[in-house]
Amino acid sequence: MITAGIDMGAQFIKVVILDDGKVTARTIIPTGFEPLEAAKKALDNAMKEAGISRQDIKSIVATGAGRKSVDFADSSITEVTADARGTIHLNPSVRTIVDIGAEEARGISCDAQGKVLDFAKNDKCAAGSGAFVESMARALEIKVPEMIAISLKSTKEAPINATCAVFAESEVVSLIHSKIEKADIAHAVHDAIASRVSSMVRRIPVEKDVALIGGVANNAAIVDVMQKHLGTEIVVPENPQYVSALGAALSAAS
């Protein structure tokens, strides 16, 4: 049976097509200002990649912040459910999931079947989400990949106190003016977001294994500092930004 999962993220829309438990296509496009149009396009691209047509898909399930706007989906599930389903499918030993997206961060505790036991989330505040990393990279006048690379080479601690992205930006600017190494500032930025997300995650029981998913999981510097903050090793599944969409596609198949 062929099913599709659509994850309507704040910044990107992800689509996964599943054929009897096997992923046959994965696509990602920016959400932009016409999310419904973008979702259709992402699905079209995925169908092309998998070499199938609309009639072949038995069921479509949407998830993510904008899931309600997908009028062509058969049903929708919450991001929390989708995260748990997708992660357990890829990595059955995971019990705690941390999902850091562009605008939100979540901590989820689940069992071996992917059933959600508890969760905590931080919504609509740029501090503690991917948007924070991006706006700090802008303040540093470098691209995000470069910021990650130099952050891993940092040797000194730099102070960033602000818990609001707008204020943190001014702090970054004044650190640049006081001639602090960009590497150390980049590290401080990652440390700030990790400390925020991990404090939030600690509101739920943190049990091994711990997985980090969402677009920000591709950021090696964050994975590194998150491990320090949570005091445990973190697994990052392959294609971490598609985990939610995969969870939705799995849910469509059941």
Partner: protein, 288 residues
């Protein structure tokens, strides 16, 4: 150099009718805030001169600059000042101050001086925080609430929006009222997300005025939510830089269904003025 839309003009004012040489007490209050700094000189119990300047990279220089601007057209020298109280975000780093007092106490005192003893609730909308303050008839704080983390609803948030829309910050308020119909407020309280929402609205064909209206009303709504935590008691007044943005203040008053007492000569000097009133009290007390 590109235009800096968030910039506003610094200014100073001097009381033409007062002779400081004849005054028994001559004191000053300096408020070093995150975005702007003010200095007020009080001769006896009257405002002699004041200034409003942009805060620089460090507190000592910002304090010197503000005081220097206030004293520029007078023949007062710094050593003529008998007592100086510092307040605001940078209060502990003001070299010429004899004492530091929190901005909460100073704003209440300054609002009480300008608005009279009937003021009970003060909303201070500063550069990086929002404060709700209740005070008694002498301007003594009875309850306060400080929102000092999030840029939403602050002057800094407004600067971000002014830069984004390339509108001079002083025009934001009037432009936001210049709309045919009040648009729905932007949904995000977070400035970072409101920014991307604003870009989306512009692409949809909204005018700058409409986007500003949507932003100002979201800001007003958020401020009202904050004030409801401590409640509103009449008389009500607004201090701080955003108090000069009519787009935000008129929407706050409409939502709260109260009037605000206008503060003369300038609602932005409330903190520095309050500090100078404290300075005078402390000076008189030390003479006894």
């Amino acid at each position: 150099m590109t235009t800096e839309y968030f910039r506003w003009t610094e200014y100073a004012w001097k009381n033409p009718d007062k002779d400081w040489q004849k005054a028994d007490t001559l004191v000053a209050g300096i408020d070093v805030g995150s975005v702007s700094s003010q200095a007020v000189v009080l001769a006896d119990d009257e405002i002699y001169c004041y200034s409003n300047a942009r805060t620089g990279s460090n507190s000592p220089d910002s304090a010197k600059n503000a005081l220097g601007m206030a004293l520029k057209d007078t023949d007062i020298k710094q050593e003529n000042l008998q007592f100086v109280v510092g307040t605001g975000y940078g209060r502990v780093n003001i070299p010429m101050s004899n004492k530091a007092i929190t901005e909460i106490a100073c704003h209440a005192r300054g609002a009480n001086y300008m608005g009279g003893p009937t003021i009970r609730t003060i909303l201070d909308m500063g550069g990086q925080d929002l404060k709700g303050i209740h005070c008694d008839e002498r301007g003594k704080v009875t309850q306060f609430l400080m929102n000092d983390k999030c840029a939403a609803g602050t002057g800094r948030g407004m600067e971000v929006m002014a830069e984004l829309l390339q509108v001079p910050i002083v025009d934001v308020g009037q432009m936001s009222l210049d709309v045919e119909e009040e648009p729905p407020p932007v949904s995000s309280t977070c400035v970072i997300f409101a920014k991307s929402e604003a870009i989306g609205l512009l692409r949809k064909g909204w005018t700058k005025n409409m986007v500003l209206a949507a932003y100002c009303s979201a800001m007003a709504h958020r401020v009202v939510g904050l004030l409801e935590r401590i409640g509103i008691e009449k008389d009500f007044t607004i201090t701080g830089g955003i108090s000069k943005n009519i787009g935000v203040t008129s929407r706050i008053l409409k939502e709260l269904k109260v009037d605000s007492v206008p503060l003369k000569p300038d609602p932005q000097i409330a903190g520095a003025l309050g500090a100078s009133v404290f300075a005078r009290d402390l000076l008189l007390k030390s003479r006894k």
